[in-house]
Amino acid sequence: MSSAAQGFESPRQAYLAGVGAVLPFIAGTIPFGLVTGIATKAAGLSPLEAAAMTVIVFAGTAQIAALPLLAAGVPGVVIILTAFIINLRFVIYSATAAPYFRDLPLRWRLLLGYFVTDTGFALFIRRVADQPDLPYRHWYFLGAGNLVAVVWIASAVVGTLAGAQVPKAWQLEFAATLGILALLVPFVRGRAELAAAATAGSVALLASPLPMKLGLVCGAVAGIAAGAFSERMLARSKP
């Protein structure tokens, strides 16, 4: 790539490059946003609550995971804890990106924090891997994050409005459960991930009589431990 070899000459150029880098990925974001919006409506949230959730939580996986829990009347603390665990992956992104933004003023870092997304992060890290001292890299990050946010929020709101027109008999609230399954598939890439998911599911099932749906939290914690343990065992068994 010729463009990757040279830096940006202005904030505007960097910002637009960030926007442009996200464009090919929009086709994947729009349908998922629509489904999330439709499922949010089906779970019983009002359009205002659904829109507020999309804008201020701004994390599709956690949003879609919360829907069956909300519909089942699970205590709020457990739902918030679940969102926290699902979004722990952002801590890794944040840790990886932090050295590139070390010298920015606090208000910039506060702003960029909101725009840490799966797509935006992956594109940014690929871009700075070629050129760690890329000038105006925070503008690139912001451009990528802004487009992800605009597309996500717009498609989820459209989905919420469309969801209001769908008859209840279609059982579209089940789309949230299917969404969780479909999101789970790409996370299970190797044997350690499979061990994590299988352990989490089994422990959550066995612990499901626990009050306040705490079995869910037990399952998630057991899964993380099983994944880390398997990773070590697999590394040790290699010659």
Partner: protein
């Protein structure tokens, strides 16, 4: 199944705000520390497994024991619709195809049973 979402009342806004707060904290915490604190490698390795673990912990009891007790019978249509959704996701490598496939499987089974 009727949604129990109305039981939260105004508390629903508290849940949304809480989800937003913990999500922002996860995203921004280390950016705000600006490289003054690095995550220990063992933690980073373990955190990789958090999303798959939490998602599996939600969905497995939901599908295998929808009313509390284990139900692996064909009457548990959502379990088989879910398995169909996973199969379509794996085959077509598409989240959306998996959701659509699972919904179609659910309604096909509801028509047949």
């Amino acid at each position: 199944m009727t949604s129990q979402i109305d039981s939260y009342g105004w508390g629903l806004w508290g849940i949304i705000a809480g989800m937003a707060a913990v999500t922002y904290l996860n995203r921004a915490s280390l950016l705000l520390l600006a490289g003054r604190f690095m995550l220990p490698p063992a933690w980073q390795a373990a955190l990789k497994y958090a999303p798959a673990s939490a998602l599996a912990a939600i969905v497995v009891p939901d599908l295998l024991a929808p009313s509390g007790a284990l139900d692996l019978s064909f009457g548990n249509v959502r379990l088989f619709a879910g398995l169909a959704g996973v199969a379509v996701t794996v085959m077509l490598r598409s989240t959306l195809a998996g959701i659509v496939g699972g919904m179609l499987a659910l309604h096909a089974m509801l028509l047949l049973t």
